[in-house]
Symmetry: C2
């Protein structure tokens, strides 16, 4: 079974590096695959980002991120769909392997999560044709249930699988941080099979002190990362492994060269 | 369909009131059902707490809490089982309707959540006979997945239902805060049927700023509490509704008489 190489999600070095610095840093450490964020691409300009990617022969394993479909009214939802069209075009310009979708939470003051979930399905359906014609696979990322209200109302791999059943042409981005707790995970990874087109890692710290920005370096938390990767790769996944660590008070404050060194070391030993 | 009355979970007034003050406060507001915590009972003494309950004709809808089964070795696990025997005896002395079980997370430095879950099943199996002979129903409470590592590794109603299938004599404590996000919830409530013997409410705030102690007053968050209660009561649940709000920086700092007034008002209008 082929095992994937590390791809550096540029969120991990967000504390100190923009797009160009991050690419230089990755190359210094022998990392030739990246997964950038749209704001990082926008800051340097899409054309320049695409030029850097091409000039250095980089693999772009995913663009983060599209999604955020639920809106307070039809016009708001259409605006969000339009933004996803742009995200698909940006992913195509960068030659990305996929566009990662973080689907959005409850719109406005809504308490109707079933309705928000319907807006997500409708929103994805609305962008699938454009993604297909642009040659960009869409990867829905189920987020941890603690983000259900304000970030993503698709919170289990089972739900992502249901959406894939419903929406032809949808793939899955699986992030260990979001799904490690799920007792149904082995069964749902088997059900997902080759739908998993992007695999992300970091670690769950105990205690965790911030809902968004206190994710751990692999090995510093409680996730059985080797076990989880084995389940994913047993389904034939041979793509890269995205290292994505949001860590405002720890890793984002460190020398990013140190961060890369530790990521690469931990990738070899615990992922 | 009978609708349950409010029971005051004494966590809600923990900021200012011990057991005796909380009982006095509840009675001032016409609340005659409570759900105390073991440390609150211990602080006044079990005999005195039982005397107060009896003298005032209070309904004790649940004792919080037993559980915490996973341990680092057999001796540690046995110590935890023994503590549950004491919890059952305390629940019996108070005439409680049930003992709520928060099952515990990963023991020590373990990353094996499947093994922790096995320890939970084994631990519950070990205390069922004592609970049965004491006449105390056990209510397993699935906790939000964000507590999987350090508080409870049973995180969905589906998993609680699986344990009930496996362990004769186990009931369920359903807390809106922990399960509201679950797309499988309506189906699992129907599957649970009369297994739900305790129902808790508070609300999920956006944003939530603390993993444990930033729960919201009903109506201040995003949970569809009326909809959820309807699903539970459609299965024949006619028991009390426990109001349980952990709120270190808001409700625990207020005059508890105000907290009770607001709880009762919101209970009438949004639960």
């Amino acid at each position: 079974m082929a095992k994937g190489q590390l791809s550096m999600n540029l969120a991990t070095t967000r504390g100190a590096w923009g797009f160009a610095e991050a690419v230089d840093g990755c190359l210094r450490h022998g990392v030739t695959a990246i997964s950038p964020w749209r704001d990082q691409v926008a800051a340097i300009g899409l054309d320049e980002a695409a030029r850097i990617v091409k000039a250095n022969g980089l693999r772009v394993t995913g663009l983060c991120r599209g999604g955020m479909f639920p809106g307070v009214d039809a016009a708001d939802r259409q605006k969000r769909i339009d933004d996803n069209f742009h995200a698909i075009d940006e992913a195509a310009a960068l030659g990305a392997d996929c566009l990662v979708l973080v689907v959005g939470g409850l719109p406005g003051s809504s308490r109707d999560i079933a309705e928000a979930r319907k807006m997500v399905a409708d929103g994805i359906a609305a962008i699938v044709p454009h993604a297909r014609s642009a040659g960009i696979p869409l990867a829905i990322e189920p987020l941890h249930p603690m983000y259900a209200a304000d970030r993503a109302c698709v919170n289990t791999l089972a739900h992502a699988n249901d959406l894939c059943d419903e929406l032809d042409g949808l793939g899955i981005a699986l992030d260990a941080y979001h799904v490690w707790w799920d007792p149904d995970l082995p069964r749902q990874i088997a059900r997902a099979g080759r739908r998993v087109i992007s695999y992300h890692v970091c670690d769950w710290l105990v205690p965790t002190t911030d809902f968004l920005l206190d994710r751990g370096m692999m090995g510093d938390g409680v996730i059985d990362l080797k076990g989880l990767r084995k389940l994913v790769e047993a389904q034939g996944y041979a793509g890269h492994v995205d290292v994505e660590i949001f860590s405002a008070s720890n890793w984002w404050t460190r020398d990013p060269d140190e961060v890369l060194r530790v990521c690469l070391e931990r990738f070899r030993t615990v992922v």
